[in-house]
């Protein structure tokens, strides 16, 4: 059999791989080192907690500082002594992030500090935010995102009045997180970022519109579209890793928003409640909205994948709203026709490209649209029954068609 490459090239490739995989840089080593760091941090806290009350206050203050000092020493070692080691970088950053929280918690216990959990989390976030920039470690960035998400969820029930701190932190951190996440070349970590970042942002976005809820609808649509567009960019090191989460969240969110526009009562309410004066009375609302629309436009223009209908859902969404301001019924017809067109487009693309997921998603959307309209109008059971039979039949026929084409092409090859 002919070789694809000659022996000399093969030898060079083997040599290159051997030199490339250095000790401490394989993903398994990094993961287990980080896990070890997490467990050690938790273990220190638990051991100290055992005889806490028997220690005099001065002793307890000193012990409270030990976890954070240890974390800082490890961070200094990783930067000054072992700058090339990925395992050191990831483990020391994660360890410091957790021990900072442990120190703050221990100090709270020493002085019987009251306050809500959301206030504690905000203080913890402020204390570790610079670590994200300094360490550029993926593990600590992931932990930081989890911490931030926990805070934003809690803050809906336990609000804090230091929101200006959060907004000052949020924008640079967000951009930096996106930068380091986009440079992440390991698939597993890219997948984690692809899910965590959009979920976390989706949870947080509501805070900017707590007093302008109607405008949140538009902001969320822009955000979901950004999710879809983001992973198509050339500067993402591992686009397929990112796509898994961002595409899914963006697509589901966009489709849900579009379906909401197909309901008359919702369309009427939203057009009545959208008021410019309300938006501009809340700086955090209009700034975030302008930012989202600007980012969406930028990503759309720079996208490396053009021509996908899913990327143009936001203009269609805005157009539907715009038409509804003049005439709600006209807007309703437009949004229903657009959703119909979108689902038919997905069905045809699924058949053309032989992708079952796309085909079935399109069929599902079509079915949901038909079912929703059935609830709006008084149709007889016979007509509904016939319609469901037709749709069910379409599912079988379309899937079978795609599978058969795939098999024919395999045999032809």
């Amino acid at each position: 059999m002919d070789s694809i490459i000659d022996e000399a090239t093969a030898t060079r490739i083997v040599q290159f791989e051997k030199e490339r995989v250095l000790p401490g840089t394989s993903i398994a080593v990094v993961v287990f080192t980080v896990l070890g760091a997490l467990l050690v941090a938790l273990g220190i806290t638990l051991i100290v907690a055992e005889n806490w009350d028997d220690i005099p206050r001065t002793g307890r203050i000193i012990i409270s500082f030990l976890p954070i000092l240890l974390g800082q020493v490890l961070l200094l070692l990783s930067i000054f002594r072992y700058p090339g080691s990925l395992a050191w970088k990831e483990a020391s950053a994660s360890f410091l992030l957790l021990t900072t929280g442990a120190t703050l918690a221990l100090i709270s216990q020493v002085f019987q500090l009251q306050g809500t959990l959301s206030e504690f989390l905000l203080l913890w976030i402020v204390c570790v935010a610079p670590l994200v920039f300094i360490s550029r470690a993926s593990a600590s960035a992931i932990l930081f995102i989890i911490l931030g998400s926990w805070f934003t969820i809690l803050a809906y029930w336990q609000p804090v009045n230091t929101w200006h701190v959060l907004w000052i932190l949020a924008v640079p951190i967000l951009f930096f997180l996106l930068y380091i996440a986009s440079q992440e070349s390991k698939r597993a970590v890219a997948i984690a970022f692809g899910w965590l970042i959009p979920l976390s942002l989706a949870l947080s976005l509501g805070h900017a519109f707590s007093h302008t809820e109607s405008w949140a609808f538009i902001a969320y649509m822009a955000f979901f579209q950004i999710s879809i567009l983001f992973s198509t960019h050339r500067w993402i090191a591992h686009p397929t890793g990112w796509k898994t989460g961002m595409d899914f969240i963006g697509f589901i969110g966009s489709v849900v928003m579009l379906f909401m526009l197909t309901k008359k009562f919702f369309l009427r309410e939203i057009t009545e409640e959208l008021k410019w004066a309300e938006l501009f009375s809340q700086p955090e609302s209009w700034i975030v909205l302008i930012l989202l629309v600007g980012v969406w436009l930028f990503l759309l223009l720079k996208s490396s994948e053009k021509g996908r209908i899913v990327q143009y859902l936001f203009p269609a969404f805005l157009l539907s709203l715009g038409i509804s301001f003049a005439d709600v019924d006209a807007g309703l017809i437009f949004s229903n026709l657009f959703v119909l067109l979108f689902s038919v487009n997905m069905i045809s693309r699924g058949i053309r490209n032989k992708v079952l997921l796309t085909l079935n998603t399109g069929l599902l959307m079509f079915s949901v649209l038909v079912i929703m309209r059935f609830f709006d109008y008084n149709l007889s059971f016979v007509i509904r029954g016939i319609a469901f039979l037709i749709i069910g039949g379409l599912f079988f026929v379309a899937n079978r068609m795609v599978l058969r084409r795939g098999k024919e092409e395999e045999h032809a090859a």
Binding site: A49, W52, D53, I61, S64, F65, I68, Q72, L75, L76, I79, F80, P83, T100, T103, L104, I107, S108, Q109, V110, F111, Q112, L113, Q114, G115, T116, L123, V126, C127, P130, L131, F133, I134, Q158, P159, V160, N161, H211
Partner: protein, 188 residues
Amino acid sequence: MQHRWLKPAVVIFIVFQLLIAGNIVYNEISVGGLGKEYKFLCTYYDPVQPFVGRYLELNPGSPCVPVRDSATDKSTSYFVVLKDSGGFHYPDYITYKRPESSIGYLEINQNTRISWFNLRVRDCKTVNYPFTRFYLAAEDAPRAEKLVNESLRDTSTQVWISVNIYRGKYQVNDVFINGKSLKASLNN
């Protein structure tokens, strides 16, 4: 490849973290050292509230206190001026302007934005004291809860929280049952 700014940035970051933690410790030591002791009687609390983690949930009450002046839309906290009555302390009135340091008062943060409702001058405002938790070792918690519960039900005993207050800032000292520290009661 490391950037030139990384090493000084790490040092600044470490100092920043230690300053924040150190500032908390310094403030609390100041309140403890310079503050005056105030005693707040505890009332019976909801027995179905679970003992969460390592703290004891207490209820110093939620009185409706007269308001002397009105809030502004920038007010993020209010001040509860305290009075002594029979060795225990109670809220006298609420003001949105910080009182003089010679007067004993508590600063309570409002975590919700001032709405048009709160901007009106109202007759009284419900005060939610910020100190409702007392931390202690997990193994002492069940006994502490039982002891405090029984003491609160017994009308002949008094349970109070001792709090140091200095210029509106507070620090919880201890819980007392008829003048005896809770910790001492648990050790007996």
